[in-house]
Symmetry: C3
């Protein structure tokens, strides 16, 4: 799957499917735009007019209230008309049924689809078949990519730490099933992070991860040693037991971030997690809400980043790089 389909001839975003292949200047431009939107929505009135009269359809083949909600809020705050469609993946597993769904909704003059699907490549499939002018945002496809999560993570790291070139980033937990890990690794590499580590038991590390530029650690203590940023991943408890992990308790003991362990971190290290957290599994509750944790800031940044991507694709002339004019519904 190539990333070129995401860009138009002038190198501007027309879809967002993966962070793989996006240039450093483009990623930084998205983060700058997100910062401008974060700033513009600080006050009481969070409504901007960039997508007024446009239609954004959240097309979720996999249930995710939380992610859907952030996309819905992002679109609402840009004044788009938003439609939520939850589709049972079972009834649309065949490519031609996906195609029929896309074409039908396109005919309703949708401008953008936010797609979540449990099949890797689903967002690419939509982008390949979308009519000109119709944008596809990948909100997570299988184990492949979750690019807006990757961007909000980069936003959070940049805001807290500034220069990526000095950072050692440890990604901890279920790497093998994680689209978040893949998107983070692509972005961190592009942005020039000094060292990217994946920290997990052998069963949860995918083959070939070193080729993506990550160092593998099977010991949490070693993996955290000297880290500036710790990104924990959510453990999908249901699918873990048996095949991948002997027990949740053992995982917590060996890879959970506890109060004891954060004392070993660098004093200014930050802790992140895409949420929702499993208290007592990958993280202790006290740590999640402790002073080093940026988990809730990640949620806020997620809306700003999604607004940025939506506006840069659908209203590129309005979404100036550094400034979100408070253009109102007129």
């Amino acid at each position: 799957m190539t990333a070129n389909i995401q860009l138009d001839d002038n190198g501007r975003l027309k879809h967002l499917l993966t962070l793989e292949g996006l240039s450093k200047p483009l990623i930084l431009r998205i983060l700058d735009q997100a910062a401008a939107f974060a700033d513009a929505t600080q006050g009481r009135d969070k409504k901007l007019g960039h997508l007024r009269g446009r239609t954004v359809i959240n097309l979720f083949f996999e249930a995710s209230t939380r992610t859907r909600t952030t996309f819905e809020l992002a679109a609402q705050r840009l004044s788009a008309d938003v439609l939520n469609l939850q589709v049972a993946a079972s009834s649309t597993s065949k490519g031609e049924t996906l195609f029929d769904t896309l074409k039908t909704l396109e005919a309703m003059q949708a401008d953008m689809f936010v797609i979540r699907h449990d099949a890797s490549g689903a967002a690419h499939f939509f982008a390949q078949h979308a009519a000109p002018g119709v944008a596809i945002l990948n909100a997570g496809d299988g184990r492949h990519a979750h690019p807006t999560q990757g961007l909000l993570d980069m936003y959070t790291i940049r805001q807290a730490k500034g220069d990526f070139s000095k950072l050692t980033v440890a990604i901890v937990g279920d790497i093998v099933h994680s689209r978040v890990a893949r998107s983070d690794i692509h972005a961190l590499r592009t942005l020039g992070a000094r060292e990217i580590r994946v920290v997990a038991p052998p069963t949860l590390v995918p083959a070939g991860i070193e080729q993506m530029g990550a160092k593998v650690f099977h010991s949490l203590d070693a993996g955290l040693d000297g880290a500036d940023v710790v990104i924990l991943l959510r453990l999908q408890k249901e699918r873990m037991l048996g095949a991948f992990l002997p027990s949740l308790g053992e995982f917590h003991r060996d890879f959970g971030l506890t109060r004891a362990r954060i004392r070993q971190l660098k004093p200014d290290a930050i802790i992140m997690h895409p949420g929702p957290i499993n208290r007592g599994v990958e993280i202790e509750g006290d740590v999640a809400y402790g002073e080093r944790s940026l988990i809730l800031q990640q949620v806020s940044h997620g809306i700003a980043v999604r607004m940025a991507v939506m506006a840069m694709i659908l209203a590129p002339e309005d979404a100036g790089r550094a400034k979100a004019t408070k253009r109102r519904a007129a």
Copy 2:
């Protein structure tokens, strides 16, 4: 069930329950208004202000994401506040429960209800009991009527073919269960189509259909011969087998529109289908997306037609016949 309840003393629409009994000038006025809205929503900003501050409630007793979506988009684009209520029909089967539901939602100052129900006559029931000023749109009631589908079909035919008086229209498939077929036949007759054909195996043709003005064909080849317009109906696969059809394969062989069969059509014949299509049953996938097919255009027209009906009922002074002023939220 009389149609008069749909019109006020000046002959203007106050509900839309059925196309039966609507005059030719009124139908044409709706189509003209729809054309104006289709034109006004071509650009990036599809938002018009006709229903600003009005409340439209989609009250669906039968699940239909697709139809509900088109009504929701139509209302959104006219700036209405839209509320979606999905009600289990089982819990509201009794007339008095329907009545309680209507009265309660009316008391919330709803201006319009879009109703879908599996009982024929449900929309009439609501219209009979609605308070003055409250409008009912029938989005499909049992086997009875689906008037906005009928209107969008007429819109599509008129745009492609112009004058109805020269047209032979073949409606193919499960006529007996189809509210779409009934609404199409009423409209085609009113608009003066030269010949209306229903083409189906004997088990799928309702008694008395000739009295509605249709000619019955049990052979697809004969039914398509000389047709200008072919309207395929969706086969509800689940309820067909056994009682009505020996097998889906046999239906496809005898009544499915295949590449082979469209070669026998008149060169300028058009193909329509209310969707969603059953590939390999009533139509082949290649035919559905072929050059004669207007299936996706029907979807687009559906939004324009629904906007037209909503605006003509709730904002008749703004919804000028031929011109949709781009009145904005001010």
Copy 3:
């Protein structure tokens, strides 16, 4: 649970959790504001701008289409962005999971949460943990409180009857499980109702209700004698049988409001019910829609009251006591 958490240092509402402890002037101010909104939304355009750019999240841990709908409409008519989240209570029964949910949604810059939960005290829990500036509206928590229902009941009584000090109010039915009864009793007492009666079989009267200021009647005839206002409660049929009631028929015979019984009422007595009614259980259908019934007006008043509370909390400077300026989206 104290009520103080609801008020800021100037005695203004910042949450609405219970009517217990609210002052008479504050309750009257809410009713006045509701009257202003009821007036301002009489015309065709029901849209006001008070909450433009604000985000209201309906967070329902207990299904209630009807209540959720009235909050959604109230927020829409004030131009808020509204998000509906239906959460299975089972998956969020633990306090720390509720806390995680609150904090995550807060991070999305929600301004107000409308909470319904089957656990008494859930709304207080949220208010205790909400960030400064985030408002909590209780839409019903267990058997504890349903303050907007209490307010709309007071609005309805005041509009029909004026001065509370002359009124005898009989609340009839399942008192023991009713948060509506509790909220009504608190408000009636604060507003100075002459006499508050609860009328129910002994199994449905909670211990200690007299300390709230209510007189207990186990005979409907005695309870209705001289009443100016009759508030019927909805019987949750499923949980009644066996433990609390021998049969629904017996309940209807002894405590149902029938045509025969309303003839014994004072000529100007009014009948109320929070809905949805159980015809033939607590009320006969004819009585529900009879001339003394204000049941549908209660629904309308519910929207005005909810608008009032939302605006007074989130836009106190705009929500003048007696006048709702038609401030539009600009």
